[in-house]
């Protein structure tokens, strides 16, 4: 056991300040443990959102020494023994109280996205696809919706363009729908105009902070940007897509082929 210094932001939407605490810490402790220690021993009013303590619920997103992280996945030994560890709420979303922010804007973005629209079932009533066709999408399903990527995205954080860009989390969701082998909905126009793919200048901070190590930029945002290029900036690819991709003609060809096989 040793004593370490912590500084925790406390306040309301009107304002707040850092409060200093000295806490007895043990080996293996994480930042969320410290928050609980503070609540238990020093300040029972300290508000913090948490749930699973295992990096899977995405509730305890905070900024630790200025870096967006999950409190439950950040061990104290990442920092020097004499270093004061500062815990602040995530910056991009409005404060409710202390370390708790209002992330409901994200739920509104999610509602705007056109849902999964599968193609018709095969003649035997099944939907078939191969595992390798959904490997890409399954990476995106690891998302725990901690919104650290939304928090660190400078388009939302510094430029406050929440009306122009849905943010990396929802580009990820859009990619998971657009790349799904059964999906027939075309969201490319919305990705460009409504969800603002062009606002992202791919500086990759979303990928850097993702606790699930999802390659948000390389595997979701850039592929979506390339699909926008197909549709709006590459006349040859647009023609190809019109003929072969998600068109009635392509679906007809696939169905005819499957019938022939049987």
């Amino acid at each position: 056991m040793s004593e370490r210094k912590f500084s925790v932001w406390k306040g309301t939407p009107e304002g707040g300040k850092l409060h200093d605490y000295s806490i007895e810490v043990d080996k293996g402790m994480v930042v969320l443990d410290v928050v609980h220690e503070i609540q238990k021993l020093h300040d029972s009013n300290l508000a913090a959102r948490w749930n699973c303590k295992a990096g899977k619920c995405g509730s305890c997103s905070v900024e630790i020494n200025g870096k967006p992280k999950l409190g439950c996945m950040t061990r104290l030994n990442e920092y020097g023994e004499d270093e004061t560890i500062t815990i602040r709420p995530i910056k991009t979303f409005p404060i409710i109280k202390d370390l708790v922010t209002d992330v409901s804007w994200n739920y509104e973005q999610n509602k705007k996205i056109a849902p999964f629209k599968p193609r018709e079932r095969d003649a035997d009533g099944n939907h078939r696809f191969m595992q390798r066709d959904v490997d890409r999408v399954q990476e995106f399903r690891k998302c725990i919706e901690c919104y650290l990527c939304q928090n660190v995205c400078h388009v939302l954080r510094d430029h406050e363009k929440k009306n122009k860009f849905v943010g990396p989390r929802f580009m990820l969701r859009l990619a998971s729908l657009e790349m799904h082998p059964l999906d027939t909905e075309n969201r490319i126009e919305d990705i460009k105009k409504e969800y603002g793919s062009g606002m992202c200048n791919i500086t990759r901070c979303c990928t850097d902070v993702c606790p699930e190590h999802i390659q948000i930029t390389d595997n979701a945002i850039i592929p979506l940007k390339e699909r926008v290029v197909d549709e709006y900036y590459d006349p040859f690819m647009k023609l190809y897509n019109k003929i072969f991709k998600k068109s009635k003609l392509r679906i007809y060809i696939i169905k005819s082929y499957l019938v022939t096989l049987r």
Partner: protein, 260 residues
């Protein structure tokens, strides 16, 4: 600007990246405008390849595609054959998704690092305003693919001196150059999209893997190290030019099978 709560040395990465790239830009600019010492026997500097015209001093005739320096070129244009072609490989790098990341961070400070406030912009437009031009990346990719062939041809040319087959350190350097460029270009995000990433279903309609799926997997592997190949190919192209220049000036002697 640069407001942050971060307590780590966040500025090291963008500073080092900016310094490294600036060194390359300064060296490239100097060499591109110098217009000399770009040929050493059968070795041609990649900064001058393809050599459309020899320089006005008559340097590089053996490698030149269209012969002498054209008379129609106005006098105010620097008399260096590099100025006709250098824009093409440069356009590939400047629109590359990796390069965009680092120059937006290091030079535009937009943002300089994660959770560090960049330059205040009244009306941030990302890549929807002037920078919409970045969407031309796939066209610059096609040019880069052409350059790989041209640079391999230069490497092949480096195997023959006065019609005699042989090999020198310069030949090896010239052949490594397009190889690194190939790793960089074939791992490019646009290439990854075109080769198969644009498909929603890799195995449709019969459930069998297609060549494009296998190609996409291999390209994805290269793509995961895109930054490495971007730097390796950029540094190597400058070193290749430096080697040709030093041999051409007689500062160093090329070890090869022709003279030794």
């Amino acid at each position: 600007m640069l407001a942050t709560q971060r307590t780590d040395k966040w500025w090291i990465e963008p500073t080092l990246t900016a310094f490294g790239f600036l060194c390359f830009v300064i060296y490239t600019t100097w060499r591109a405008f110098s217009g000399e010492n770009f040929v050493a026997d059968n070795y041609l500097s990649p900064f001058y390849s393809p050599l459309l015209f020899e320089n006005p001093a008559g340097h590089g005739l053996d490698h030149s595609w269209f012969g002498s320096w054209p008379t129609w070129v106005p006098n105010w244009i620097p008399k260096s054959p590099a100025i006709f072609i250098l824009i093409f490989p440069l356009s590939f790098r400047m629109t590359c998704y990796y390069y965009r990341k680092f120059y937006y961070r290091s030079f535009f400070l937009s943002p300089p690092a994660c959770a560090v406030e960049g330059i205040k912009q009244k009306n941030y437009k990302g890549e929807t305003g002037f920078l919409i031009i970045q969407n031309l990346h796939r066209y610059t990719l096609y040019i880069a693919l052409l350059y790989i062939l041209i640079l391999y041809y230069d490497g092949y040319h480096g195997l023959f001196r006065d019609g005699t087959f042989g090999i020198g350190i310069g030949t090896i350097i010239l052949l490594i150059n397009p190889t690194l460029l190939a790793f960089y270009a074939f791992g490019c995000h646009a290439f990854r999209h075109l080769i198969g990433g644009k498909e929603d279903c890799f195995t449709c309609p019969a459930g069998n893997e297609k060549i494009k799926y296998k190609a996409w997997k291999k390209v994805s592997l290269l793509n995961s190290k895109h930054m490495l190949w971007a730097w390796a190919s950029m540094i190597w192209v400058a070193l290749t030019d430096l080697y040709v220049m030093l041999v051409s000036k007689g500062v160093i002697t090329d070890l090869n099978t022709w003279n030794n």
